[in-house]
């Protein structure tokens, strides 16, 4: 941002200005060229330096989050990203004949490990063609990776190239332009994004920064990718339609339900949606697409909770919070159908600064879910399903971070919440169990002393029994003496004459 636009921002939106200032002051960017870091970043090698350059060229948004990853993970993910980018560039290129494309795509996992391999047959308009022209740099760097990293990268490449080749073949040979069912849409997103998520989980596990079982969390990893991909597919509606690329499934946009709601038939063509006279029907389709994406949100939150490394967490969480913010921006926004829309810079900066732990991230999700819900109107055919999806995010937050626990407050519990009573009861139970356990331990540890004390007490008790006997004897003596005395008196009275 230039000085003039910053000044303008200060005057028009001082809060945003403040956020950006704080972002520039407090948010450190990793400098991959720093000499002390060379052993991790590989900046000292010309081939790797070229790779870092390509990362900056191909992806503005991902480049900074990738560099943030600790130690060598940044370099590994950078290379992983470039391999998949290369694959994508072949798939995207409509100037390549199908035969050629199939051949390159289906053997990309071999090319990517062939010394000196590069590809310069991409059309001149292909944005990232230079990456493939100089692909030998990526090959060289890949070969320096530890086998546990390389295995994951090659494995993902194999799966993705097969999926992309299938879709490209179908599109170029059958003339079929649309994805039909929601399941097809999910599968397409799985190939281009879900697999990226699965591979990343594999890399995190391989690095030892995350638990080895993360690599097996395929369903959640897939959802992480799908949530981002679907958000982009929704936002890029106009750009894609103008370039005759259609990723929205016909089952959603062509559904009669959305036509019926305004007394028309369902859409026949995706470009009908941006015509002003179709605004209402298009809005309903747009809502249904947002709802479809929103269903992955709690999976993404589940995944984020599994992470333990801070740099991995930031890397994963930032794109997710950006995605839910973007979805919120797109929801019921007619501008999305006309042009490219983006969340504001200050909003992005604020999200980056706040996406630091799963609790805060889930509260960000909840906040956006509430905004989506507030924008939703009952006339929308997806009204209740959207309320339910937003409710599910609220539920997730409440299940994982229950609101009766006060974080950072003076007390631990919110006393007006009924669940606090359960917590107190539980605390009391734990306290008692602990006490009993301690008592038992103490008794066991001092068994000798206890035994001695018990023996002593037994002895004392048996001695304590004696006084009763003494008392009884004393009683008997007193009794006998008494009886004797009375008898003596009577005898005396009988026998002593002078007493009569």
């Amino acid at each position: 941002m230039g000085a003039a636009s910053m000044l303008l921002l200060l005057l028009t939106r001082p809060l945003e200005f403040r956020t950006l200032v704080q972002f520039y002051i407090w948010h450190d960017q990793r400098d991959v060229s720093a000499p002390a870091d060379h052993k991790y970043t590989g900046w000292n090698r010309p081939t790797m330096r070229r790779c870092w350059h390509f990362l900056d060229m191909t992806s503005r948004s991902f480049s900074s989050v990738i560099k943030q990853l600790d130690h060598d993970l940044a370099r590994v993910v950078c290379l992983y990203y470039l391999v998949l980018r290369g694959l994508d560039t072949v798939e995207d290129d409509m100037t390549l004949p199908d035969e050629k494309k199939q051949k390159i795509l289906r053997s990309f996992h071999e090319h990517t490990l062939t010394d000196g391999w590069n590809f310069n047959e991409n059309g001149p308009d292909e944005a990232d063609r230079q990456l493939l022209v100089e692909y030998e740099n990526v090959v060289t760097e890949l070969k320096l990776l530890a086998p546990e990293y390389l295995d994951v990268i090659i494995d993902t490449t194999k799966k993705m190239e097969a999926g992309m080749a299938d879709y490209a073949h179908q599109a170029q040979t059958t003339g079929k332009v649309y994805l039909e069912k929601k399941e097809e849409y999910d599968l397409y997103c799985h190939y281009v994004a879900g697999l990226v998520g699965e591979g990343l989980s594999g890399l995190f596990s391989a690095s030892g920064k995350e638990h080895s079982t993360l690599a097996g969390q395929l369903e959640l990893s897939n959802s992480m990718g799908l949530f981002l991909q679907k958000t982009n597919i929704i936002r890029d509606y106009r750009e894609d339609v103008d370039q005759h690329r259609y990723f929205w499934p016909r089952e959603i946009w062509g559904d009669d339900k959305y036509g019926r709601a305004v007394g028309r038939p369902g859409f026949k063509d995706m470009s009908e949606m941006y015509r002003p006279e179709n605004a209402k029907q298009a809005e309903y389709v747009q809502s249904a697409m947002v709802l479809n994406a929103l269903c992955h949100a709690t999976d993404a939150l589940d995944y984020l909770r599994l992470l333990k490394d801070q740099s991995v967490f930031n890397f994963c969480a930032i794109p997710q919070t950006m995605a839910i913010a973007t979805l919120t921006l797109c929801f019921k926004n007619p501008a999305m159908l006309q042009q490219n829309i983006k969340i504001r810079k200050a909003e992005a900066a604020s999200l980056i600064m706040r996406s630091k732990n799963p609790r805060d991230v889930s509260l960000i999700f909840r906040d956006y879910a509430r905004r989506i819900h507030a924008k939703c109107t009952p006339d929308d055919p997806s009204f209740i399903p959207i309320a339910t999806a937003c409710g599910r995010i609220e539920k997730w937050c409440e299940d994982q971070y229950p609101s009766f626990l006060i974080v950072g407050g003076p007390g631990q519990f919110n006393e007006s919440d009924p669940r606090t009573a359960i917590a107190h009861k539980d605390e009391e139970r734990i306290r008692k169990t602990n006490l009993q356990r301690k008592q038992k331990e103490l008794l066991e540890a001092n068994a000798d002393v206890v035994k001695g004390a018990q023996a002593l007490r037994l002895k004392e008790e048996s001695q304590e029994a004696n006084p009763i006997v003494y008392i009884l004897i004393a009683f008997a003596i007193v009794f006998a003496t008494g009886v004797g005395a009375v008898y003596g008196l009577i005898w005396l009275a009988d026998n002593v004459h002078w007493l009569k």
Binding site: F383, I384, R419
Partner: protein, 347 residues
């Protein structure tokens, strides 16, 4: 399940909303099992269903019915909702249950499924994602909650005594076709043209249960009261929250109902909770002076603005309960039924 066909079912309140649906589901799932109904009014929904007419507070009438149909499983759904005098509610809700328990013991009925309410643990305050570990409140919110809580405790204590196994299902926000409380309540706002008014910020999640889902849960519970069932020990003597598992902000429910009968409010006026309480207080005061019932009470404002949803994880695990009818579909069915049978003619 084969063993379910050898049961003989008796549904108390079988002509009521939930009772009818339980009977219907029993008939379709176990077509060879005898089903009987005990209710104030005779049941005419199905010729294969035996109907006993009687009052739940009349122990002899109940015993006669249980004896005659040789019941092996009782669904006790009879309850008087909010409204009538304390004594009557106490007699029906609590006294009626005491009768059912006593008859079940004397007649050696092995299974009892009790229809409870999620409000047995309510003290009127917010309930965010509560589960069954929550104790009964020291001060019940109203007479209905109090009587249902008393009855539920007796039912659960009776489990395991004299060969009787019991379970209590705490249904939340029951609604469905033919319902006389929830759907007509929202529809009365439509008839009164008050749909544009919203009390509170509508972020408070609220739980609802479609009637068929509730009936489904009852049958699942009855199946599991068989000592041979692997989940028997997780179910007998237990209370379960039953909902649709889809809590949504309170007002959304009404708006979807209204939409289903062709009405979408064009503009919504939001009245904050505190203002609502103030208005209701004034109205209640006026009502106290004039003797006319208040349109708006503090009780209703509380309902509108309070978060009330619970976890159904326990039912999911022990009863294998998964609500078959999603919320939006249930709302559509309920609204359609209201429009054909209950809507005022000029609407």
């Amino acid at each position: 399940m084969a063993t379910e066909s050898f049961q003989s079912y008796l549904v108390t309140g079988g002509s009521g909303l939930l009772g009818q649906h339980i009977v219907k589901l029993l008939r379709s799932r176990y077509p060879y099992a005898p089903v009987a109904v005990f209710d104030l009014v005779p049941s005419d929904q199905d010729e294969g269903v035996r109907s006993f007419v009687g009052d739940i507070t009349d122990r002899n009438a109940l015993e006669k019915a249980v004896k005659e149909c040789k019941a092996t499983c009782i669904f006790h759904t009879v309850a008087l909702l909010q409204g009538p005098l304390r004594d009557i509610q106490m007699n029906v809700n609590y006294g009626g249950t005491v009768n059912v328990l006593s008859v079940a013991r004397v007649q050696s009925v092995p299974k009892l499924v009790f229809t409870s309410s999620a409000s047995v643990v309510s003290d009127g305050k917010a309930q965010v994602g509560i589960d069954e570990s929550l104790p009964y409140p020291p001060k019940p919110f109203d007479v209905y909650n109090e009587t249902k809580a008393l009855a539920e405790q007796d039912v659960l204590h009776a489990n395991g005594h004299g060969g009787l196994s019991t379970v209590s299902l705490r249904v939340a926000g029951l609604f469905g076709p033919g319902d006389k409380l929830t759907v007509p309540g929202f529809m009365s706002m439509l008839v009164a043209k008050k749909t544009h008014i919203q009390f509170g910020d509508n972020t408070n999640l609220f739980d609802w249960t479609y009637i068929e889902n509730a009936a489904h849960a009852h049958l699942l519970a009855a199946e599991r009261l068989n000592p041979d069932h692997p989940k028997f020990s997780e179910v007998a003597g237990q209370a379960f929250f039953i909902t649709n598992g889809e809590p949504i902000p309170y007002w959304d429910f009404g708006r979807e109902l209204w939409k289903a009968v062709g009405h979408v409010p064009s503009k919504i006026t939001v009245i904050p909770r505190s203002v609502g309480i103030l208005i209701a207080t004034i109205m209640e005061l006026v009502s106290w002076f004039t003797g006319r019932p208040a349109v708006l009470t503090r009780f209703r404002i509380m309902i509108f603005c309070t978060t009330r949803w619970c976890s159904i994880e326990k039912a999911r695990k022990a009863l294998d309960y998964e609500p078959p009818v999603p919320l939006h579909e249930g709302i559509r069915k309920a609204a359609e039924c209201w429009q054909t049978h209950q809507a005022p003619p000029n609407n």
